[in-house]
Symmetry: C2
Subunit: 393 residues, 2 copies
């Protein structure tokens, strides 16, 4: 029994080395894992047989040399779905097992849709994305979905949601009726941070505060390299405290104190204020400064509480970061005892859906770790071998 | 090599089972670890040989039955030191490897002492505590020390400390000159939480907010079962944000707004207000209510940020918890979206020093895990076998 466990552990180590380093030779894998050459040969053969690894034959160099074979992760063995259920928009990304986006499909929806109609629109968007790739739900290895509001262990937003009637929706149950694979749901701000940690401004940092600065102001955090979910999934909601002023932040840009109702936020008014400030208008510049200070109040509380290495700013206000982030940073700097590195997100508007892809990826990875490495071929269809076209993200 | 690793892993599993379950028979260890009987026999023999485990011979039952031998963790194989360097007081606990307190020694010190004199007082207090037990620094396996202020990776409080001149003190270097064993330093509020998690109101909870409510108001947290230290050790300092009102909290009980200087806090005035409130005085009750609300403002921010399972209240104000905790809880309940369980500490006034003992324990435990299981006998002296008297804590 101990022997089998060591074998599985070594299979995972070898697969992990191939995934993290890209196509690798036997010698490279020997160095990366510390295992012997005969062990690596045997482990790689097994991974090829299971469908997780492809042999990349060398290109002869024409000088009689014989470059070694390389072994590559078979990222096209399955698909991941990243779904972002927004108030105004439903986004679906299809990605390979490395998280490379293959399809990006979005539809606008009426913010007042009741749950049955919204679930219908979700299903339709998913069908269209799969059709665009010539794939079926059986080709999907894991689904990650983003919703607004604290997500509990069952994937419900039972505490609150800005979507009408959504607190009673069993999204995992609904999606599982279509997808015979793991389905996970998480809060949208937490998923935006997951994307930043995997591919964006938070890469390599173990202690991170993420602030979504847009039509809503929200927060999420990594502590000791792990996402802070909270006991019932309700972490990151500091913005609900009135002294923190986040509920009013976006309203400041419109020159009023409203903006509590997320279904009725006027994005154009905020953009106009930013643009007017950019042209030097003193009144607009004053509003932008006030906005920066409102965002900074909550950020200071988070920085003092968690002492992060990095604060990442994401969301709809980041295109105007040059106008408000200097004031934001100055204000945080005056309040905290150690100033973190402040970085503006470089991921695009699909950062939440990218985070949902990352959530799906981690489902596939943890199923290696808890279930041992299973055959990948069982889930293979012709579609995976087809004309998958990477889409710029 | 894989075989040796499995052997060490199984040694640690077996020792872990003995430590967590108490004196155990071979059959019990077989069930607890899933290992075979011959494996357990061999592993236990090795642990006895290394000095970590004692054989407890059965007491014959007088009916011809022969109860099995038991194997017990040899908690007296070494000593742990827990040191609390307070503004007004230095406390030293000596404990066995299970954290049972054997000696509790405290001395009052002048709050204005300069570093050399304070280090001299610390050395003297440590010498007296060891002498009380007939032990020497060589009998100590790990030292944990508590100081006020954010503690960086070198054990310094370089960002700030209420102790005069203390930001430049190399406490680890100073103590290492006396103790030839691992020495760790941590912030006092974080150590109070460590003690609550090991032995107090936070046992078994992975997500905890701890609030020190006393002459100072401070915070610490567990997230995902791990202490939140922050990137540079400065987590938990939310009380420095003026809107949080913690710096002024204790001053409220004196009817003023001072109380920023931790060297000059009047504990008697706060106690008097609590006692007057207990006798029903309306003015004092109003001050206590206001104090509860000030503590609750920061607590609400922490609960919204971290969504803990439990909030533990510790510190000097807890003897009057019945007077202020109901108002505190009501106020937090109105601000947060999910109310955690609020618990008042049941550990005594030495909770910080107890946390320092826990820190020392974890040093010994992690040296098993990272260094393999080493002989325990090498560090053994006659003193360990002597008249160690558990002291009520």
């Amino acid at each position: 029994m101990a022997t089998i466990q060591v074998r599985e552990y070594n299979l995972e180590r070898t697969l992990g080395a191939i995934r993290s380093s890209g196509p690798s030779t036997t010698s490279e894998l020997t160095r990366a894992t510390g295992l012997s050459r005969p062990s690596i040969n045997s482990l790689v053969s097994e991974l090829v047989g299971l469908g997780w690894v492809d042999v990349v034959e060398p290109v002869l160099d024409g000088q009689g040399g014989r470059p070694p074979q390389r072994f590559a992760f078979r990222s096209r063995a399955g698909l991941l779905v990243g779904l972002d259920i927004g108030v105004h928009r439903i986004s679906v990304l299809l990605a390979d097992l490395d998280g490379t986006v293959l399809v990006d499909h979005q539809v606008a929806v009426d913010p007042t849709l009741a749950p049955p109609e919204r679930l219908g629109a979700i299903d339709q968007t998913l069908r269209e994305a799969l059709a665009e790739h010539g794939a079926s739900p059986q080709d999907v290895w894991a689904v990650g979905a983003a919703v607004t509001g604290p997500v509990d262990a069952t994937g419900r937003t039972s505490l609150f949601s800005p979507l009408p009637g959504w607190t009673d929706v069993d999204l995992v149950g609904h999606l599982s009726a279509t997808f015979p694979c793991p389905v996970s749901v998480e809060n949208d701000v937490k998923l935006a941070l997951l994307a930043e940690h995997a591919w964006g401004a938070a890469q390599g940092a173990d202690d991170v505060v993420y602030i979504l600065a847009g039509l809503r102001t929200g927060a999420a955090a990594f502590v000791n390299g792990v996402l802070v979910k909270g006991h019932a999934g309700a972490a990151g909601e500091i913005g609900r405290l009135p002294v923190v002023r986040w509920k009013k932040a976006i309203g400041i840009l419109r020159g009023d104190d409203a903006g509590d109702d997320e279904l009725d936020v006027d994005a154009a008014a905020a953009s106009t204020t930013f643009e007017t400030a950019r042209r030097g208008d003193p009144g607009a510049r004053r509003l932008v400064r006030e906005y920066a200070r409102a965002v900074a109040t909550g950020a200071s509380a988070l920085v003092l509480t968690l002492d992060p290495e990095v604060v990442v700013l994401g969301g709809g206000s980041t295109p105007w970061a040059d106008l408000w982030v200097p004031e934001f940073s100055a204000m945080v700097g005056r309040s905290v005892i150690r100033m973190p590195d402040v970085r503006v997100s470089t991921l695009g508007g699909d950062h939440v859906a990218r985070g949902a892809v990352r959530l799906a990826m981690s489902q596939v990875e943890s199923s290696h770790l808890t279930g041992g490495i299973r055959p990948a071929r069982a889930r293979l269809t012709d579609a995976d071998e087809g004309a998958a076209q990477p889409v710029a993200t």
